[in-house]
Symmetry: D2
Subunit: 280 residues, 4 copies
């Protein structure tokens, strides 16, 4: 496959940005094969994702030339590591973990799972089948601070690009979240903002909804309020009891998380305040 | 087409109900072609919808025989009017109204639209194209009580089975709602319980959701909390501005309301507290 | 709303096309707000749709400047009439026609329906409610050639951009199709290429499929083989009899045709041999 | 959980069948909690699936009592083994296999995978991680007859209820298919009857379709023509190259096959000639 260059740029919107950027790329012998842009008119912000064939002879020069053409404080990423490192945090539910470990094993994830950290050890045996290290960090008999410190230390050693809360059932402190900003991804078992908080399926059943869903989102310090990456729903009917809702929901959860991971590892997601731009 | 008998029964659950009911039907020479039942185990309630070929020689005897076999206070409906009468309440948006009037004109609604009541007159000309009476009842320069009294008087003359709030943008008082219990159907422009209240699309845009939806539900005195009949969603992306969300939403709204009407007019919906049983 | 300029360009693929195009646009003071391109690598073809704010002072100069920068035989459209003229051909089924006439009446179609031509007159009364001329051109007692000549003459007087076969149940001759190339749009009642030809729902029922669907496509002289614009499906089950399949199918047909019309009237569809490029 | 009795009955349609069946059940102290029936009117056939609480004191008496009440040649199954035995046939693609093995490992399959047979050995290592025997039966250097005989011998030792062709890429002979009638399940990578035969994704790409899909079906001796159990589709667009279509298709294939397995192992599928009745 021919070598490709990926650019992600975020800056204040101005007239002629596409022309200026594409000129710089042409000067560096890069041929645009895919360009997707978005203008947030309310906030006067410009976002673009460009895929080119070719590779810059000198990436620093390319960056300097782009900076020279773009508004101040432009955020420019050229060829961000296209093989992301991932660490998973789990509790007891296996469905999201297993889906990701299988993809990792067969190398269809476009990323590498480096480790799994669980606050229980029930998923250890399964994880180790795939020769992925499993770290059991119990939350019991210790302060939340100590619990999170242990996890943070492990995460630091792995230098993960993304930390996936694959049904991790502990709420993380603002300190912890702040430390791993823009790296923490959660799968929430409802179509947010419906059923924020605990037991969304029970809430759903009590409300008598006719759809259930799941949401993959960045974690921020507003519980269940982080930028949404992917959401999907499924029709249900009165005959679903709680167990059936949970079972059906797990299928959506793993599909949603897997799709979000694909988008993230392909650098298709850009943050725009409390929202995401997703260039599918 | 052969004559059919429709039964809807709701009662306390007990052993042998299906056998007892089907025996009574067989004794009246009614052959079951479709039987759908649901047991709400938590509340020990039994619901059944039966379609038979044949017609009871004496409907009163059939009812008495059923009562004799069923628990006390069983709710039995035999051949509820299978041609429902519908009155629509509208404000200014045409999409749900137009969809229903076209179906009514071409006789695919399995019901008859008797009249349209609007608190503005913008939809009068369109309505009258189809020879349906349009009553303009303005809410301006009068109390809510007087406004609702005018509407209630009109509704009474039509003896409607269902009163459809087809994008009727006024909140109705508990008195009004109480008077037309189990007859008022609303289409809400979000996938409830997300975005309860005003401007759900604006709320959705600010939250950055990746799905939008609509909900058809019975109206109760808990705003946006009535039993849900039909819900549907649609995927959107960051590129949808508010107008595009509203436009896409209208397509869902009319599809959801139209589907709910089909279910209601075919007597496929039974109420179970704050939920619905829908025998599709 | 600010004035916008729309460009559609189709040419041989070459290095630097995006840069060259965006430079020409910048020189004419046009600011790109949306650019979507597609490279058909197998056939070395480049397609782009650009939306700019601003309006060229001299459209001819803009076109000349683009020609000077693009490969030979580039196909360039600048501000194609953004208010398309539509004529509908119908037979007896109303659902697609009614959907389009209602949108036309409420001015949400982004196009103008100029006339309806029917080979039966059953839809005349409905059409005329909306003050749209209805031409009854019977196919009976005349040759196909004469029948099509009458229709072609009518179409010529209307200079339609798109001729919509809204459940028009006559097969058109190669001569006729050739005369209105790239303007004829059909709605087919199956998810092509399944169930080509007559009675797709009957075929579907006999095959016992669990999904049905519809396809909007350009008409070519290969029956049911023209470039596909939009397809959608719906799950069904064993309980659907033929009538129920047809009824459910009509909902998909009108949604699919309506979506295709939206795309066509917004100039979002480009032809690429037997396929379409759709820039949604 | 309370003990339940499951009945599947298939017979000629007659007046009063539901009453007669439910009476027999009541006489055996079985309380119907779920009854789903279907009448194939064109062929005068009756199908019913009944779930009761309770367990017959004497299953043979129950069967005799039912036979006495039903038309001749009624097909009655009482409590068919509700823990099915499954053997998988695979070639090189892992996605369906992995999905099923993970469900089996975590015991969410409602069935037991006894073995995997592959005509290549590439999936052996993965299979054996889960302590499931993998039999490598190469098709090379032997006649089709010998190849199939080896497989048939293995299958006989396992006495499988269902033999799942989980992307098994060899066409089986009529002899083989005949021997395992109603037990062979295939996942086909298109929404049948579109794209029968080889390379459906290539066919789909050349046709320029806007949806792809997958079909789980019983295998008969008409290639790709067996009774369909589950079908699902997904929207695609012009930008999908062949690889992306295959990748997206695999997600549908595994979801469809997994759903079909759920239905089969819960005894929710009944055969009706070339179609299935699916009581979801």
């Amino acid at each position: 496959m021919q070598q490709q260059t990926l650019l992600l740029i975020q800056c204040t919107d101005e007239v002629g940005l596409v022309a200026r950027i594409s000129n710089v790329l042409a000067n560096h012998q890069l041929n645009i094969v895919m360009m997707r842009e978005y203008v947030d008119e309310a906030n006067n912000k410009f976002f673009v994702r460009v895929v080119c064939t070719g590779f810059p002879a000198n990436q620093q020069h390319l960056e300097e030339d782009l900076i020279a053409q773009l508004p101040l404080k432009a955020n420019i990423k050229i060829n961000p590591a296209n093989r992301k490192k991932i660490v998973l945090l789990v509790t007891k539910e296996h469905h999201c973990l297993a889906d990701i470990l299988v993809r990792n094993y067969f190398n269809t994830l476009n990323a590498d799972v480096l480790a799994v950290i669980g606050n229980y050890d029930v998923l250890q045996e399964f994880t180790e089948k795939f020769d992925i290290p499993f770290h059991h960090v119990s939350h019991e008999n210790k302060t939340k601070k100590d619990f999170e410190k242990e996890i943070a230390n492990l995460l630091s050693t792995y230098e993960a690009d993304f930390i996936i809360l694959a049904k991790f059932m502990r709420i993380l402190s603002p300190d912890f979240v702040g430390r791993f900003e823009e790296k923490l991804i959660n799968i929430h078992h409802s179509f947010l903002p419906a059923f924020i908080g605990a037991n969304p399926y029970r809430q759903a059943q009590e409300r008598g909804v006719k759809i259930i869903g799941a949401t993959a989102h960045f974690v921020t310090n507003d519980l269940d309020e982080g930028p949404i990456i992917v959401q999907r729903t499924k029709s249900i009917h009165h005959g679903y009891d709680l167990t059936e809702m949970v079972t059906a929901g797990k299928e959506i959860e793993k599909a949603v998380l897997s799709h979000a991971l694909k988008l993230l590892t392909e650098d298709r997601v850009m943050l725009n305040g409390n929202k995401t731009i997703v260039f599918e």
